[in-house]
């Protein structure tokens, strides 16, 4: 009996995942093949690959560290304030703060931290943290009343409530918040690098040609695309599939 009930859902989920997966790989194949043709045609002949790879890795490293800090801050803050009466005070405060344009605060970051790695990382944190924070807060606030009651009745109170109820409840929200946050994070870091001319992908493309399309800029964009694709396929896609499988209604 259970086969009749469970398999169609699992199959449907699996089919849609396979479709999305195929489409993503197809897009990547088109990019790689195009890159190969450009390479074979000598289009990338003048690209300074060591400098480019170094710049891309620096930017990726900053993003990874900024994401790590943002996810810790965003999830912790949401879990702490999300289920108590404090949320009524903090929600509008967070809403105002997240609406401040990140780059408007950029001079403050430079003032306090100088033109350093830390400055760019913390600046990125200030952008990445909001989608994660709001996704988790929304998940906690929109949890069904009965599920909250069940957690309370069966003993998930105080700190146990965070660890055994709110944290797993928020898992899909952390995923979606992270995906949005990282997309914003790329923009923040590259933008900050362009403005501050700190080494990294942003300053690399500024140096090679800030206005026009040239082989070095195209090669850089391809490198970033490959990293984004790899992270998407190797990290987010499997986690989203698992989340969809477990959290389906």
């Amino acid at each position: 009996m259970i086969g009749n009930i469970s398999r169609p859902k699992t199959r449907s989920l699996h089919r849609s995942h396979v479709r999305r997966n195929r489409l993503a790989w197809l897009m990547m194949a088109i990019i790689v093949v195009s890159a190969y043709f450009f390479l074979a045609a000598g289009y990338f002949g003048g690209v300074d690959w060591p400098t480019l790879v170094d710049a891309v890795l620096r930017t990726t490293y900053r993003l990874a560290v900024a994401y790590g800090i943002a996810v810790i801050i965003g999830v912790s803050l949401a879990l702490i304030v999300g289920w108590g009466p404090l949320i009524d005070f903090f929600f509008p405060v967070f809403d105002i703060l997240q609406n401040l344009p990140s780059f408007a605060l950029f001079p403050l970051f430079i003032y306090f931290f100088g033109l350093t790695d830390i400055m760019i990382i913390l600046f990125a944190v200030s952008s990445i943290v909001w989608p994660i924070l709001f996704a988790v807060l929304t998940a906690i606030r929109s949890a069904h009343k009965d599920l909250n009651d069940a957690a309370t009745i069966f003993g998930a109170t105080r700190l146990r409530r965070i660890g055994y109820y709110l944290a797993p409840l928020s898992f899909p929200a952390v995923l979606t918040g992270s995906i949005v946050g990282i997309a914003i994070g790329w923009e923040s870091i590259i933008g900050a690098e362009i403005i501050s001319t700190t080494n990294g992908f942003g300053s690399y493309i500024k140096n090679v040609d800030v206005a026009g399309v040239n082989p070095s800029a195209v090669a850089g964009a391809l490198c970033i695309l490959i990293i984004v694709f790899a992270v998407n396929r190797l990290v987010w896609a499997p986690l989203l599939l698992e989340s969809g499988r477990r959290y389906a209604e």
């Binding site: 009996m1 259970i2 009930i5 469970s6 859902k9 699992t10 069904h144 009965d146 599920l147 009651d149 069940a150 957690a151 309370t152 009745i153 069966f154 003993g155 998930a156 146990r160 055994y164 109820y165 797993p168 409840l169 898992f171 499988r245 477990r246 959290y247 389906a248 209604e249």
Partner: protein, 249 residues
């Protein structure tokens, strides 16, 4: 209705509750609720939608506070079965059942043994590793019942446990519930809106009216157990209760 702490699991005396702020003139959702539940009895509360039955259960469990009145709770381990199951979607059936035991700090081996035993009692042994999304409504409700039984409750509150189930599943679950009630000897307080179900299962039935929710009448069911739901006496009880509800509404 005299409250004797040794023989009553629960006594409510003139309990009134508001959803919003009483001082702002918001109307009461429960008004002067007075009744008691003898230890080991099966008591039902029936009434129309919106009469505050579920709110009353939340007040009894301390999930919502009463504005006035007294509640004597002669139970230490309450459990609840929910209308919409309220299973934790990220946990398998066995982990859902073991949730309350985990919150009590029981070690994994022991809690899984107990959870397996309870799943066996409700006929779901083979499905212990399935997630709720892979279970039918009836199977989910059985997991919900097993989760409640796992903590060996002395008061089991059931909020319309059969209303989302088809007739066949509901009949099977009622039979299992009566068996479990007899073997555990616990007190059961069930919210219901189906008159035949209330007559079949209960020792006493409290009839609620709405706006505000109040207990209008209490009916004792004196049919011998096991009850024959096709006997003239059973139909007579159903007719009498239907008439009582008509009079009230």
């Amino acid at each position: 209705m005299a409250a004797n702490p040794s023989s009553t699991a629960l006594v409510l005396s003139r309990v009134t509750a508001y959803f919003g702020d009483e001082k702002r003139g918001e109307s009461a959702v429960l008004k002067d609720i007075t009744f008691s539940v003898p230890t080991g009895a099966f008591v039902s509360i029936i009434g129309p939608s919106g009469s505050g039955k579920s709110t009353l259960m939340r007040v009894i469990l301390g999930l919502m506070s009463a504005s006035s009145g007294n509640i004597v709770r002669n139970f230490t381990k309450p459990a609840m079965v929910f209308q919409n199951y309220a299973l934790f979607p990220w946990l398998s059936a066995i982990d859902n059942v073991a949730f309350g035991l985990k919150m009590q700090g029981m070690d994994r081996k022991e809690r899984e043994r107990i959870a397996r035993e309870k799943l066996n009692q409700v006929g779901l042994t083979r499905l212990e590793r399935h997630f709720p999304s892979a279970l039918s409504g009836g199977q989910r409700q059985r997991v919900g019942l097993a989760r409640a039984l796992a903590i060996s409750p002395d008061l089991l509150i059931m909020d319309e446990p059969f209303s989302n189930l088809d007739t066949i599943t509901s009949e099977a679950l009622k039979t299992d519930l009566l068996k479990i009630w007899r073997s555990y000897g616990m007190t059961i307080l069930m919210v219901n809106h189906l008159i035949p179900d209330a007559i079949e299962l209960s020792d006493a039935i409290h009839i609620m009216s709405s706006h505000p929710g109040r207990i209008e009448k209490t009916v004792s069911v004196r049919l011998p157990r096991p009850r024959d739901t096709r006997s003239p006496q059973f139909y007579a009880e159903v007719d009498a209760l239907t008439e009582a509800i008509r009079e009230i509404s």
